[in-house]
Amino acid sequence: MHEFFRKLQHIDRRWIYLVLLIGLVTTLYVGWPVKPEVIPYVQNLYDAVEAAPAAEKDQQLILVGCTFSASTMPENGNQLRALLRHLMLRGKRFAIIAIAEPQGAQFGADIAGTLAEEYGYEYGKDWISFGYKPGTLAFFTAFVNNIPGNVPKDGLRGEPITGYEIMDGIRTIRDISLVIEDTSTASILSWITFVQGKYRIKLGYTCTGVMVAEAIPFLDSGQLVGMLPGMKGAADYEKLVDELEAQALRGGEKKTPYDPSTMPLMKNSARRLMFTQGVAHIIIIAFIVLGNVGYFLSRRRRHPAKEASHD
């Protein structure tokens, strides 16, 4: 029995990987989209997007930062997809920009381009890519005062930015009604330091799970209007957007529901992947409990009298 308790604490990590792998693969096949309880930060970002004036008559844009690379696509990619679907359902005009992460320019344009076909968005009129820009201090300070001067050409076609209809009336950061930074880096600090703090621009944040805890103080202080924390945030936001889309379908404004499998590299919805995520957490918690039970039982066996006196 003692041997059993001892082994319980020293399970080869590869068994844990194997159990996790079986659990994840199984649920990827048999899982279903969860209906998550939307957390307040996500709801706040959703409300901020709803309130942001970015229609053609408003002469303002929403700026979406795509500062992520291939390594965090499951989190940042799903967040971006949910966010852009919301913008497109509401007819909000937007620009995407990749600050300090070259791959983000490509991924952002791919996701926006695929969704634009589905939602009937026209490049240059309803959305535009500012491409990649180095996230230096010099860029931020220049960009906020003169957007066309610092983005002379668009990121997709390489044509003069001022030639696009969407850029009419867009001169400085004051013409941006909301900035949403979708990132796996510390770029949000640059936005807070050089843009939000100085110009009081509304700033949203969609980040990887690792970065969530550090961002909470910025939400509390109002420096961020809302946040999508990791895959959970993407799933919550997707639920809100799906509800909005259901309304549009009922009202006849949209003909067919969005099919996530049309998106290369992200063929499953975040809500469905969140089911798998939940199963992974349960497996990990089970192993933690198992290890601790083994620890306490083996300790009790080693020091029965001491443990009994504690009781």
């Binding site: 965090t72 696509m73 070259p102 201090l137 050089f194 703090g197 969530v212 910025f218 109002g222 990791g230």
Partner: protein, 286 residues
Amino acid sequence: MTEQEPRDPVPGAALENEARFWPVILLGAMALLIGIGILMHYNEGAKAQWVPLLGVLMTLGIFSVLYKENPVFRFLEHILVGLATGFGVLFIWFNYLEPNWYLAMMPNAAAQAGEPHGQWWLIFALLLALMFYTVYFPKLSWMNRFLIGVMMGWSAGFAFQGFVSVVAPQLRTSFKPPVTGYDLMQGQAAEHIHQQMNNIQIGPVWFHPFALIFIVVLLCTMAYFFFSVEHRTKWIRQPANAGRYFIMIALGAIFGTTVMGRITLLIGRLDFLKNTFADWWQALVK
């Protein structure tokens, strides 16, 4: 599978004991990858077939480290780092440096019509950048120190601005009265926020329980880092002890979200494998 394997007695000994044919095999694999890359560049059809296959092979190769450290994993790890770096360098050159610096510096012939050109003084940017490398020449290394000094001063100035922009609003909002004689949320979406914050109205007085929790946690955590007074008396020791637990809770939350993030990345890769295998299966049964 067995229990945890004993560590190598000498770090790197495992690498030395590896079979000598591995470098040859991996060099061959790299040559093959370069060949496939060239083929994909000129043939869109080949690209559609090779990209998923390469993705699957690379993913499985990287996952192989979960079983055991091996040369294939290290090879793919280096490929990944090299690709990301190479992509970044080329992307920055063609999308930023070439149009904004190189072509702008060149004479009229090199630039397209209407583009900035002939700004020869931009060459000084290169000369300044090269000064960083004077660190390798002792007699000229003062140039390097000059540049570093300028950059440090510049960064310090903006760090101060950053401190004001980033921390000052948080200092302001840390003043949260737990009891008020008026509605703190007046003028905002009061009902929603009151519900979120569990604010309680008792007659003319508003009680803010989260504000009270915030103040207790803030003071206890600060007490833990307050070393000007020795932690001997209970007035400082007990809050500091509580502060330690609060810090541990915060670190636990950070660890929890980190695990969530990492598992998400694993799920993303497994989803990619599942979808690719499903596509291949469909192609086979057609």
